[in-house]
């Protein structure tokens, strides 16, 4: 362990990569091993990333030269407090969702276990690599890994999934290509691809339109990827038709990691000075975020299916983080960063709960949810906790990030944002209590023989979700509250130190 610890930054990516390769091979040789390889790989990475976070708390920044080459020539990994935290979140969520969905995966893809788990682990590898890397082009490659696997994970669902996956692929490719073009512009000006190096060279180009264009291209690309309104159209279909096992990892992580990348780009590549002070983009972005929040909430109100409704909630949540970040004051940025963490866990919890429900009743129409509190009390309790967190009720963590975001909005005097946040809290309350009401008040529709609507198993057979799923769900729900209570520590010990002092 002693001599491995300097290699932690590489290990968090290499271990899941190798695990994915072994998983895929195991799919052809011994199918039972697939799950174990995947789980072991992700669990190791979870441990390593936790260790990394612990050591980065003392050391500020850990650099790792891949291939042993120094910075502008080789690829550099750069772990600071912020991405150390995000890495832990990524692996925590991926691992938990993997364990929770063991049964569903085995039932949906009995013959293709290796393929599914390999894609799953590769997806996580791509995300964590994007977060850890200090090289702008390397980021693109890893972005494409996570995107490609993401398209596949979404496309294997049923109903409209392939079409939605294809649309996602078109949008995602445009987004990634725009990012690549933006990096190309930066390369043309500076000749470098290393983030720190670019940042040190850029001040000479602050007035240049090419730089502005590069910034806009990168950001637009990332906005498409993170589904910021009005570039969100691909998200609802893609997310609502995909299998529970994939959505449980894609929904919590993709948008959040993209937002982290946005933060990374603005801080570490374009520098806060340029991004906030010279671009005069803040106001526009915050209003876009306000639109995202309000439109996301309103669209969510119009839905009659659980998973689909949740996808619009995600769009609104993206608005939270983007808006908070572009407000550009310390409070709001803290809130945005904190919300990356909190929202990831919240989304995990709510999608796990939804997954458990869908697994048991084979449908997610609101109509199908009748009487669920009686049939699946524990799952619904966890669902309620996640819902409270999304509404923003203390002491769940959702409240605290909202607290920071609203404080930031007040500090910036941007009351539109404040109102949008409050509005969305209220709408979330309506959304989730509508579901809770259905589950709580309406008696279970005892499917008398064959009336056509009810396609799931008969009422008597509906029981709690399998134990593994339930355990993960409860763990996620409990961590929502734990995160909430430890907000103070997280903020003072990690986030505060991770945000550049210039803000």
């Amino acid at each position: 362990m002693e001599n491995l610890s300097p290699h932690f930054p590489a290990l968090i990516i290499i271990v899941p990569l190798i695990a994915a390769l072994l998983t895929s091979a195991a799919g052809w040789l011994n199918r039972r091993l697939c799950f174990h390889f995947a789980a072991l790989g992700l669990f190791t990475s979870l441990l390593v990333s936790t260790g990394l976070l612990a050591s980065v708390l003392d050391k500020d920044v850990i650099l790792y030269r891949l291939g042993g080459w120094p910075a502008p020539w080789g690829i550099l990994y750069r772990i600071d407090r912020l991405n150390g935290l995000v890495l832990v979140v990524i692996f925590f969520i991926a691992f938990l969702n993997l364990i929770a969905n063991k049964r569903t995966v085995e039932e949906s893809f009995p013959e293709q276990l290796g393929g599914f788990y390999a894609l799953y682990v590769l997806f996580v590898t791509g995300l964590s690599g994007m977060v850890a890397t200090g090289d702008a082009f390397n980021l693109y490659v890893l972005l494409e890994i996570s995107s490609l696997t993401g398209y596949a994970l979404i496309g294997i669902g049923h109903e409209r999934a392939p079409l939605a996956g294809l649309n996602y692929l078109f949008m995602g490719t445009i987004g990634a290509s725009l990012y690549l073009l933006g990096i190309g512009f930066l390369y043309l000006m500076t000749g470098s691809l290393n983030m720190t190096d670019i940042a040190s060279l850029l001040p000479g180009f602050y007035g240049s339109p090419v730089m502005v264009l590069a910034f806009l291209l990168c950001m637009t690309g990332l906005f498409i990827k993170m589904a910021l309104f009005p570039l969100h159209a691909w998200l609802p279909n893609a997310y609502s038709f995909s299998p529970s096992a994939s959505i449980g990892v894609i929904a919590p992580l993709t948008t959040k990691v993209m937002i982290y990348v946005m933060i990374r780009m603005t801080f570490d590549v374009f520098t806060p000075d340029f991004s906030f002070k010279m671009m005069h983009l803040g106001e526009v972005m915050v209003w876009l975020a306000v639109a995202a929040i309000i439109m996301g909430s309103l669209f969510a109100l119009a839905q009659t299916r659980l998973k689909r409704m949740l996808t619009y909630v995600i769009i609104a949540e993206v608005g939270y983080m983007v808006g908070g970040f572009w407000l550009g004051n310390r409070m709001a940025v803290t809130g945005a960063v904190l919300h990356i963490l909190n929202d990831a866990v919240m989304t995990l919890c709510i999608f796990l709960a939804a997954g458990a429900v869908v697994y048991q009743i084979c449908g997610d129409d609101f109509e199908d949810l009748k009487g669920l509190f009686r049939k699946m009390p524990i799952s619904m309790a966890a669902f309620t906790v996640a819902a409270l967190s999304l509404i923003g009720v203390p002491p769940t963590c959702g409240f605290f990030s909202k607290w920071y975001l609203i404080s930031g909005g007040i500090a910036a005097g941007h009351y539109g944002f404040v109102v949008a946040l409050l509005f969305s809290s209220l709408v979330n309350a309506v959304l989730f209590f509508r579901i809770i009401e259905i589950g709580y008040f309406e008696p279970f529709s005892e499917g008398e023989g064959g009336h056509g609507v009810h396609h799931g198993p008969p009422a008597m057979e509906i029981r709690e979700a399998p134990a593994g799923m339930l355990a993960c769900l409860l763990l996620a729900a409990v961590s929502l509250i734990v995160l909430g209570i430890y907000t103070g520590d997280i903020v003072t010990r990690i986030i505060d130190l991770a945000i550049p002092p210039a803000i």
Binding site: G392, P394, P395, I406, A411, V418, E437, Y486, G488
Partner: protein
């Protein structure tokens, strides 16, 4: 005033929370109720054990976790919080006993869930009472809203659903849309949310900002039932009666009033309000609520609804009393929390007992019922005396102080309001008693051979009725606490 670190407030909050697993896992109902009682008694014991220290001027403090920099989940026990905690924890014991009688008497479903959330609600109530800063207050206030939701909607039918919706709409809407932003703005402007005896908003100059904040707070704590944020209360009457009792006498509405008082004293401070003449504004708001609700109560035929509107009015007494900012007025307002609690809980217990024994909900059906259920209606009489504010019931003490307060503050209009509403109170309570005892019962009464309610129901209401009489003769514990609280809030003057 010295502050010491003590785990006791936390323990007091946690006792009922810790009983929840026991309640859920109990096999037999008796064991389950055993848990409830054990927790209730333990909680009461802990609360009472803190009284001497509080009276000697010591503040007990405990910070659970620092959730935001400089802002933690902090418990701090002062005289006012203590007063409320004593009321809540003592009445919980009685209500638990009553719940057993009521729930078993009516063979309600999901009793485990009921007792479980009941315990949760009590934890949250004590959390509010002992909250050391606005944030902790908000946290437990929200927790209380969600813990009482399953209680309000216990019947799980269409009516419960729509009332539950209304309940959440007002309570949650108020707290998210009004209190949360107000709290954030306050935090942004002052950098703290810690309650101090003289308020922490002193540094703010702008009158309009203060006014907006004040109004947001006062209306945002919708549990206080200040009009127009009151209409959840009558709707919430669909709940089982012990819940209504808990809602109206002990937990929910008192928490609302308590919060408003905290805002007035601990956040804004009496000096600030007086300096900007906001006291009159709050008085006017409160008195409008008092008069309107009393008038509406007159028109209600369903007993629980009448009680509900009465509650709305009585809550505003508390707010009014404190907003008078005079020594006696504030003492009266705080005392009224205790006095009204004992009086109103008796009334609700009686309503429930009548329902358990006869199935009657409407006042018009209660003619002559006093002859069949003399104990219940006797208690009802004592309870209504207390609420009206007549001797020999505790309500007289608080009302006396309130009246004195209006005179001290030279708010003679308020004096008129108080007296007028007392008359109205009498007008909507006494006829019930009169008809119950002195009119001949209808035919139906004889046919059904109505007798007293079960003893589990009867005993608690006798206890609370006697309690409210005892409080008339021996109000010292509450009086001393209230006086101490007022002394610290007004700066010893």
């Amino acid at each position: 005033m010295n502050t010491i670190l003590s785990l006791k407030p936390l323990l007091a909050v946690l006792t009922s929370l810790l009983a929840v697993p026991g309640i859920i896992l109990s096999r037999s109902p008796n064991v389950r109720e055993g848990w409830t009682f054990a927790a209730a008694l333990a909680k009461f014991g802990i609360v009472v054990s803190m009284i001497p220290m509080v009276l000697s001027g010591v503040r007990l403090e405990y910070t659970l976790a620092e959730v935001l920099p400089g802002l933690g989940i902090t418990f701090r026990v002062d005289a006012f919080g203590m007063l409320f905690a004593v009321v809540a924890s003592s009445l919980w014991i009685v209500t638990s006993a009553y719940s057993i009688g009521y729930m078993r008497g009516l063979q309600e479903h999901s009793q485990t869930r009921y007792f479980c959330f009941f315990a949760l609600a009590l934890s949250a109530t004590l959390g509010v009472a002992f909250a050391g800063n606005l944030f902790t207050l908000y946290l437990f206030y929200e927790a209380l809203s969600f813990a009482t939701y399953p209680l309000v909607t216990h019947h799980q039918d269409r009516e419960a659903r729509s009332s539950g919706r209304k309940y959440l709409f007002y309570i949650l809407g108020g707290s998210i849309a009004f209190v949360l932003p107000a709290m954030l703005v306050a935090y942004h402007l002052t950098g703290t949310l810690d309650f101090t005896p003289r308020g922490f908003m002193g540094g703010i100059e702008s009158k309009s900002t203060l006014l907006v904040l004040l109004l947001l707070f006062v209306f945002g704590f919708a549990k206080a039932g200040i009009m127009p944020m009151h209409s959840w209360l009558p709707a919430a009457m669909v709940a089982p009666t012990p819940v209504s009792a808990l809602l109206h006498a002990v937990a929910v509405v008192k928490v609302g009033a308590f919060c408003v008082v905290r805002i007035i004293t601990g956040v804004f401070g009496t000096d600030l309000l007086a300096a900007f003449h906001f006291d009159t504004l709050i008085c006017v708001i409160a008195s409008v609520t008092i008069l309107t609700s009393s008038l509406i109560a007159l028109t209600q035929d369903e007993l629980k609804r009448r009680l509900a509107f009465s509650t709305i009015g009585q809550l505003s007494y508390i707010v009014l009393g404190v907003a008078l900012l005079s020594q006696a007025g504030m003492t009266g307002g705080m005392l009224h929390i205790a006095m009204h609690a004992f009086g109103k809980i008796t009334l609700f217990f009686c309503a429930g007992a009548i329902f358990v024994a006869t199935g009657i909900k409407h006042i018009s059906g209660m003619v002559g019922i006093g002859r069949r259920m003399p104990v219940t209606m006797g208690a009802f009489f004592l309870g209504s005396l207390s609420v009206i504010g007549l001797p020999p019931a505790g309500g007289f003490i608080s009302k006396w102080h309130l009246v004195l307060g209006t005179v001290q503050a030279h708010q003679y209009a308020m004096l008129v309001v108080l007296l007028a509403s007392s008359l109205l109170n009498a007008a909507y309570f006494l006829p019930i008693v009169y008809r119950a005892f002195f009119c001949a019962p209808g035919e139906a009464m004889f046919e059904n051979r109505i007798a007293e309610a079960p003893v589990w129901c009867l005993a608690p209401l006798v206890v609370t009725a006697v309690g409210s009489v005892v409080l008339f003769f021996y109000p010292q514990p509450f009086l001393r606490l209230a006086a101490l609280a007022v002394q610290t809030m007004t700066g010893g003057g």
